[in-house]
Every structure is written in structure tokens, then in C-alpha cells.
């Protein structure tokens, strides 16, 4: 039915070639901020960062793709006649919330009341997502939707810059797992884009902050000494916090924290508050239900936006069949319904400050960005947790991330600016622990979170059985102590361990993360006293798992049990 897609699909491995742009100006990477609801694109134009506008003169474009006839079209070029057009079932949005998630994920389940089809089987595979085209459900994937959208963005940028665009710096949420990142890279590959960096959103903001501080020094306004900043970024889908130390144009990320939490959650909470039986009413996902859920969604969204600027708002929606909602929603009620969301925000800030080992009093600037920054309660949380009257006001909250990404794009492409405006650097930190399964069912981190990148860490393990000749290395990423609740990145087997009593062979596992966040795991066996390893070392690039990785871990358990287990060796460092 659908015609050949208008893009080519490249393989994963092609996205990460060693093509360090050997730097004519045409190779400057552009910065793209793909938000759950809105998207923008910016580029270093030779003297400053310029946020590109689409043909309708918008800097911020809605992130969605409408599957109408033969060719899908996205929010870059397409003008919606009315907000309600977005809710006919033919439009897919919120792909950033869905990408790289399994159908057992609670975020996917919460997405079931979006006005398109999201089906789950709860078995750990990708959810079934479909758009209504000519009264037929046409299946798609978040990657495909994102790729279609990226193609439009790319075309728009190429027209304006009058040159081909290939390298991009994309901003991503802090809480994204490596598997999700690989899905983003995949979408970029499908759109013919090469990912130079995937940059956590608050670190992009931190880079912009570093540049502003640097300029202030040049204009003799700033002191030039080190400044700590706390960055809080909350959009429609994700909430991120970063603490950075900035001096001389170098932004050193001290700690990162993030969670899948945003305006979408508030929207869902309010919708459930207005219509408690919503999930039952709309569970059948017929055309009529989609229209109704769309009506409710638009009305609620509108109300939340208005609540940022006025104390109360009147909501009137007629959903037919005698369901009518007439209600005055005021700020207190809104805040009470979303109390958990706000509590989580406060706890994320606290966690980030603790892990950065920075006292609130030592934070020089508190920066609030993202679509949720207009919500009064978010502002008051930030001012109260960080104990200050004023927030940093030198940034456009909706453009800060994309500007930072464009700066990083220029810096990492090797562009120099005669006025020193690009004399910048971000020193990133790892957002999540990475480790392997060992000591029974435990997750043993090898690279702790908030380790400065590039990073390399190693740990020595040993066998648990006599004459064990093989060992399974299962690599996970996450913050939990039990291995099952973390993200599986991949697994491989070390073979050729010389037969020996348990505890004698030393199995050395080393993880290496480079500046573009590529993770390599090295593993090998060394017998005590031997000069050379017993078998060739292995180098494995992670993640290696693809879809359905929920099954893999179970299958490994079932098949191998504890026969290939490892335990950590007590460190031999004498104190």
C-alpha cells in the first residue's frame, strides 16, 4: 500500500565511523534538539549561534509526523490547520518517550491513551505502534517516525545553509540508556545523518553558560574565577539536572541526574483528574474514542499552558454520550494533583547536588530551561531548594539546549573563532553506572556514574567453580544493585580459561568510554605469575543486544544457570 519510503536505511555501524571532520567550514556540525513536543535546529554561522527558522518563520517546530496519503509529512514543513488535526489518529508524536522502550515499560503503558495506536503484549518486545491512514492502521516504529522528521529538518537546514548537512550533535535526556541511544543513532542513520555527539540536554546548556561566562570575562564584567551552576531542564517528556563547574570556557560536568518525567506526565495526571474513568472509556481505541481523547487532550494542554500565566482556568469539553466536563481548575488544584511530579523534581536536584559534592551555597547560578520552566511551581521549587531569590535570566529557556548543541558541534568539528568565542570545551561525565553481573545475581559497577569522560576502569574477577574453563560476561547499565532491573547492554563468553581451582584465574574486565561515549569492554584471563594472558583478550563494543533483550537475560539464566559465574576479587591494594 504505502509507496517506497523516501529515505535509505543505512546499517548501524555506519553511523559511527571515524570520520573526524577534517574541517572545511562546510563540515560544521549542526545542533538539533529533538524534544518530546517541540524541536529546534541551530548552527554556528561563523560568528555566533543561529537558530534556524522554517518557512513559516518558526524557530520551534512541533515534533510529529502525520501519515496521510503516500508520503508522511512532519511538523517542520507541514502546517496544521488546527490543533485537532493532530489528533485524528494519523499523527504520531511523543516518539522521544517511546523510542527504545519495551512493551513492559510503564512509560509505554502510559502512552496508550495517546491518539494513535499503542499496543503491548507485556513480553519484552517493542510495542506495536500504528497510525490511522485511510481507515487502516499502518504500523510504524518510533525510529521511523523520528527518521522522517529528521529528514525534514535536514532538508530545511540544507536549503538555508546552501550546503549538504551530514554531521549532527543531538541533545538527549540524561536518563536515556545506551540501548535508547543506539535507537536514536539508528534513526539518524536512516535520515542519512552522522551523529558526532549525543549530548545530554543540561550539558548543552552548561556549554552555553560557559560561553556566556567567557564572554563576560572578555568584556571585563565577570571575575574569571570558577563558577558552579545548577541546570534544571524539564520538557514535555524528561527532566534532567546537571551540576557544572565552569572556568575559562571549560564546562566540567560534576554530576548528572535524570528521570522520565515531564509535562506529559502532568498532562496525563490532569486528564485522569478531570475524567477518572478515562482509561476504561477509551480502551477500545476506535476512531470515535481517538477523537474524544484528542479533544480532552487539547483542552487539558491548553488549560495547563494558561495556568502558567493566570491563577485559574475554565475547562469546557463536550465528549458526547453525555460526558461533559465543565470545571474551573486553579493552580492549587493543579499542584496538588501533580504533587508527586514536583516532589520527584526536588529530589532529583538534591541527588545531583549531593553527587557533585557541591553545597547549595556554593552554586553561583541556577539555570532553569525547558518547556516546563514557565510553570510557577517549578520555579518556586528551584528557588526554595537552591535557597535563592533569583534564577539565571540570560538564557532563552526554549533555545538554550539547541544553542549549546550547535556550539559543541562547532567545537568538536575543529572550528576556531578568531575572537575566541569557540574557545570552549565540555568535559562530560557518565550518567549511569556500567558494570557486569557477578557475585551471584548482583550488579557490580565497573564505571561508576558521574565518572569524568573519557574514562577507563578495570576490575578483576575470578571463577566460582573448580576447573571452570568458560565465563560469561553480562554487561548492564543502570543504578540498581540487582542486575535484573538494569538495562542489559550485551554479553559474551570468555573461553580458554586454564583448568585451575576456583579463585585462581584472574579475569580482568576493563571498560573504556571515549569522548563520543562509545563503550568498549575488554576481557581476558591472566593466570597468577604468568607474563602473558592465557588466551587472547576480547574487545566488545556495546551495546550488542538488539530488540527483545528482555528475553536474552532470562534465556542466559535458564541455559547456563551459575555454571559460568564470576565473583569479584578482593582488591589487593594494601592500605
Amino acid at each position: 500500500m504505502a509507496a517506497e519510503p523516501a529515505y535509505t536505511v543505512a546499517s548501524d555501524s555506519e553511523t559511527t565511523g571515524e570520520e573526524k571532520s577534517s574541517s572545511p567550514l562546510s563540515e560544521i556540525s549542526i545542533g538539533i534538539d529533538i524534544g518530546t513536543s517541540q524541536c529546534s535546529i541551530a548552527v554556528w554561522n561563523g560568528s555566533q549561534v543561529e537558530v534556524l527558522k522554517n518557512t513559516r518563520n518558526q524557530k520551534l517546530m512541533r515534533s510529529y509526523v502525520t501519515f496521510k496519503s503516500d508520503f508522511p509529512s512532519g511538523g517542520v514543513s507541514n502546517q496544521l490547520a488546527h490543533e485537532y488535526d493532530m489528533l485524528t489518529g494519523a499523527t504520531i508524536f511523543n516518539m522521544k518517550r517511546l523510542i527504545g522502550r519495551l512493551d513492559t515499560d510503564s512509560v509505554v503503558h502510559a502512552s496508550k491513551n495517546l491518539p494513535f495506536l499503542v499496543q503491548t503484549l507485556n513480553i519484552g518486545v517493542r510495542p506495536f505502534i500504528a497510525a490511522l491512514v485511510n481507515n487502516m492502521w499502518r504500523s510504524t516504529t518510533p525510529e521511523e517516525v523520528l527518521a522522517i522528521f529528521l529528514i525534514e529538518l535536514r532538508a530545511m537546514a540544507e536549503v538555508q545553509l546552501k550546503r549538504p548537512v551530514r554531521n549532527v550533535v543531538l541533545t538527549i535526556p540524561v536518563s536515556f540508556s545506551r540501548f535508547q541511544l543506539s535507537r536514536i543513532e539508528r534513526a539518524c542513520a536512516m535520515a542519512g545523518l552522522h551523529v558526532l555527539r549525543l549530548m545530554p540536554e543540561p550539558t548543552a546548556v552548561a556549554l552555553l553558560y560557559a560561553q556566556q561566562q567567557q564572554q563576560a570575562v572578555h568584556e571585563n564584567m565577570g571575575s574569571g574565577s570558577e563558577k558552579n551552576a545548577l541546570i534544571f531542564n524539564m520538557g514535555a517528556g524528561y527532566c534532567d539536572v546537571a551540576v557544572t563547574a565552569t572556568a575559562g570556557g571549560v564546562s566540567q560536568i560534576k554530576a548528572l541526574a535524570g528521570f522520565t518525567l515531564g509535562g506529559e506526565d502532568m498532562l496525563q495526571n490532569i486528564m485522569h483528574h478531570l475524567l477518572p474513568e478515562m482509561d476504561n472509556l477509551f480502551s477500545s481505541h476506535g476512531i470515535e474514542e481517538i477523537r474524544k481523547i484528542g479533544l480532552l487532550r487539547v483542552a487539558t494542554q491548553d488549560a495547563i499552558h494558561k495556568l502558567s500565566f493566570q491563577p485559574s482556568v475554565q475547562i469546557n469539553v463536550d465528549l458526547g454520550n453525555g460526558i461533559q466536563i465543565c470545571k474551573v481548575l486553579d493552580r492549587n488544584e493543579f499542584e496538588a494533583v501533580n504533587q508527586k511530579v514536583f516532589e520527584k523534581c526536588a529530589s532529583l536536584i538534591g541527588q545531583c547536588l549531593r553527587e557533585a559534592k557541591v553545597e547549595v551555597e556554593d552554586v553561583n547560578d541556577v539555570i532553569l530551561v525547558g518547556g516546563c520552566s514557565y510553570i510557577p511551581k517549578i520555579k518556586s521549587i528551584l528557588t526554595s531548594v537552591c535557597k535563592r531569590g533569583e534564577l539565571y535570566a540570560e538564557m532563552n529557556p526554549l533555545e538554550a539546549a539547541v544553542c549549546g548543541a550547535a556550539l559543541e558541534g562547532a567545537v568538536a568539528s575543529g572550528i576556531n573563532d578568531p575572537f575566541g568565542s569557540l574557545d570552549l570545551l565540555t568535559i562530560q561525565a557518565t550518567p549511569l553506572n556500567i558494570g557486569i553481573r557477578a557475585d551471584g545475581n548482583s550488579f557490580v559497577p565497573i564505571v561508576q556514574r558521574n565518572t569524568t569522560m573519557p574514562a577507563r576502569r578495570e576490575l578483576i574477577f575470578t571463577t566460582v567453580h573448580d576447573n571452570q574453563t568458560e565465563a560469561l560476561i553480562i554487561v548492564y547499565e543502570g543504578d540498581e544493585t540487582v542486575e535484573e532491573t538494569n538495562h542489559l547492554l550485551g554479553y559474551f563468553k570468555i573461553t580458554g580459561i586454564p583448568p585451575a581451582p576456583k579463585g585462581i584465574p584472574e579475569i580482568n574486565v576493563c571498560m573504556d568510554i571515549d569522548a563520543s561515549n562509545v563503550l568498549r569492554v575488554f576481557a581476558g584471563v591472566i593466570m597468577p605469575g604468568a607474563q602473558h594472558p592465557a588466551a587472547p583478550f576480547m574487545e566488545v563494543r556495546m551495546p550488542t543486544v538488539d530488540d527483545g533483550h528482555g528475553w536474552c537475560a532470562e534465556a542466559l539464566h535458564r541455559t547456563y544457570g551459575s555454571t559460568l559465574d564470576l565473583i569479584t576479587v578482593q582488591k589487593k591494594v594494601q592500605k
Binding site: 571515524e18 572556568a247 565540555t426 577507563r456 576502569r457 578495570e458 569522548a515 575488554f522 583478550f537 563494543r541
Partner: protein
């Protein structure tokens, strides 16, 4: 002896951090990794090999002096990152950035820095003062492989060296002989003149790593007495031999600890 001396024989720079992978180059993603076996054999070769003589420790790597404050270390680290970070230098900056991150982490943490200092043979000044009143020399500028040492057994107290390099040597009036106050306190020609002019040739160039032991041993130590006889102060007649023995003893102690 304070127990901290035990950590003298902690692994040296480069061994601390991933010895087995320390000089594996990071292959580009596309090119086939030709030397898996070769890379794995790197365990015996140290980071020194890849980085050259002057980068042998964290202080020289960051280009700071051994007594610099954390503020100075921070600034130096940032300045170097701007030169060597892979964002700027490309993939070839990876190994160096790794090392700098490790160095920064160690030197910014008070405990890890103390431990590291001990491992490269440098005690915090406080150790000398608090524990035994030993006068250690301090360093001017970055740590170098060679250091000056006066064998006070041989020194006749002629003051020739103090006269020619007054910022480097000082006269210990109570002992009647000279000692090094500041390593490289004067420029190299002045120092060389002092060394050459010493009438008994008691000024030696020694390994920086040896220096702490030598300076510790050359101080007069209380002598065990028998009844009223034999009490007083003594120092080893041949300080270099004594240093060898002392190190052996430490090694033994460390080994015993491990067991």
C-alpha cells in the same frame, strides 16, 4: 617509623590504572583491529613507554609542582584539557585525556593524593615535621627525575655551595653542615657550580624517588644505649648503602602485610 612509609611501594604511575590495558591504543571503529594478541601482551610495558620520560608522574603530566594547591591543579587540568581533549585533539587525545582524568581525580582528593605522593616517594611536609622533625627539601617547579642530595657525613661545612646557590642550599648550623633546602631553587648553572666547587664532592645527583629515603636516613637518629654508654645520635656511615637496606626492609614489611 610511621606506618605510612609502607605505602612507599604502592604501584608507580601507570600501574595504578589498568595496567593490562594501559597502552592499548584505541582502534578506530572501521579499521580491523589487527593486534588483539599484541595489545593484550602489553601488561609488562608501562605508560611511561607511550608518554615519554618527562610525563612519568601525575604532577609532571599536569605540569604542576608537587606542592601546588588544588586550585592550581584545577586550572592546569582545564588548560591541558583544552589542548588534549578528544573533542579538540581528535581520537589521538583519548589516552592522554584518560590519564589526565585519572591524575586529576587522584590529585583533587586529599586522601588519594597523599597515598599517591607516598607511592612516588614524596611525603607530605607534615610527615617530616609532625613525626620526626626531619627536614625534607621542597621542590621549586615541577618534579624532575633528578634531585640534589648532600651527604652530610662527608660535608665539612665550608659553605661554598650556600654561597653560590643560596636559594638551593642552606647551612644547618646545629649540625655544622649544608643541606638542600629547595630543589632547583636556583638556575642550573649556579647549582652545577656549587656541585663542582664542593671540596669533598659530597653533593650528589640522585633519583627523585630515592631522595625521600636518603633525606630521612641522613638525619641523625637517636642511638640505642647500653646503660650509660653509647647513647647519643648517629647516622649511617654510608647513606646510600643504608637506603638500599632500608628499602629492602620496607618491601619485606609490605609483603608481610599482604599475607
Amino acid at each position: 617509623m610511621p606506618t605510612s612509609v609502607i605505602s612507599f611501594y604502592q604501584p608507580k604511575f601507570g600501574q595504578i590504572h589498568c595496567p593490562f590495558f594501559s597502552n592499548m591504543s584505541i582502534p578506530s571503529h572501521r579499521t580491523p583491529h589487527k593486534g588483539k594478541a599484541a595489545a593484550a601482551r602489553c601488561c609488562q610495558r608501562r605508560m611511561d613507554a607511550t608518554l615519554g620520560e618527562h610525563d612519568r608522574n601525575y604532577y609532571t603530566l599536569l605540569g604542576v609542582s608537587i606542592d601546588s594547591t588544588s586550585q592550581q591543579i584545577k586550572e592546569a587540568y582545564r588548560k591541558l584539557q583544552k589542548k588534549y581533549h578528544p573533542d579538540i585533539a581528535g581520537q589521538k587525545g583519548h589516552d592522554r585525556a584518560l590519564l589526565m582524568n585519572e591524575a586529576y581525580k587522584v590529585l583533587m582528593s586529599r586522601d588519594m593524593r597523599r597515598q599517591y605522593n607516598a607511592s612516588i616517594g614524596w611525603f607530605q611536609n607534615s610527615f617530616g615535621k609532625d613525626a620526626s622533625g626531619v627536614d625534607y627539601s621542597v621542590w621549586n617547579g615541577p618534579l624532575r627525575p633528578q634531585a640534589l642530595f648532600v651527604d652530610q657525613n662527608a660535608c665539612i661545612g665550608c659553605r661554598e655551595c650556600v654561597y653560590h646557590a643560596r636559594n638551593t642550599f642552606t647551612m644547618d648550623e646545629s649540625l655544622g653542615c649544608a643541606r638542600v633546602k629547595v630543589q632547583y631553587g636556583d638556575d642550573e648553572t649556579e647549582i652545577q657550580v656549587s656541585v663542582d666547587l664542593c671540596p669533598v664532592n659530597c653533593i650528589y645527583w640522585v633519583d627523585a624517588e630515592e631522595l625521600q629515603v636518603l633525606e630521612y636516613l641522613i638525619q641523625p637518629h637517636p642511638k640505642k644505649g647500653y646503660g650509660i654508654y653509647g647513647q647519643g645520635w648517629e647516622r649511617p656511615t654510608n647513606v646510600f648503602m643504608a637506603a638500599e637496606a632500608f628499602k629492602k626492609q620496607l618491601k619485606q614489611q609490605a609483603a608481610n602485610r599482604q599475607i
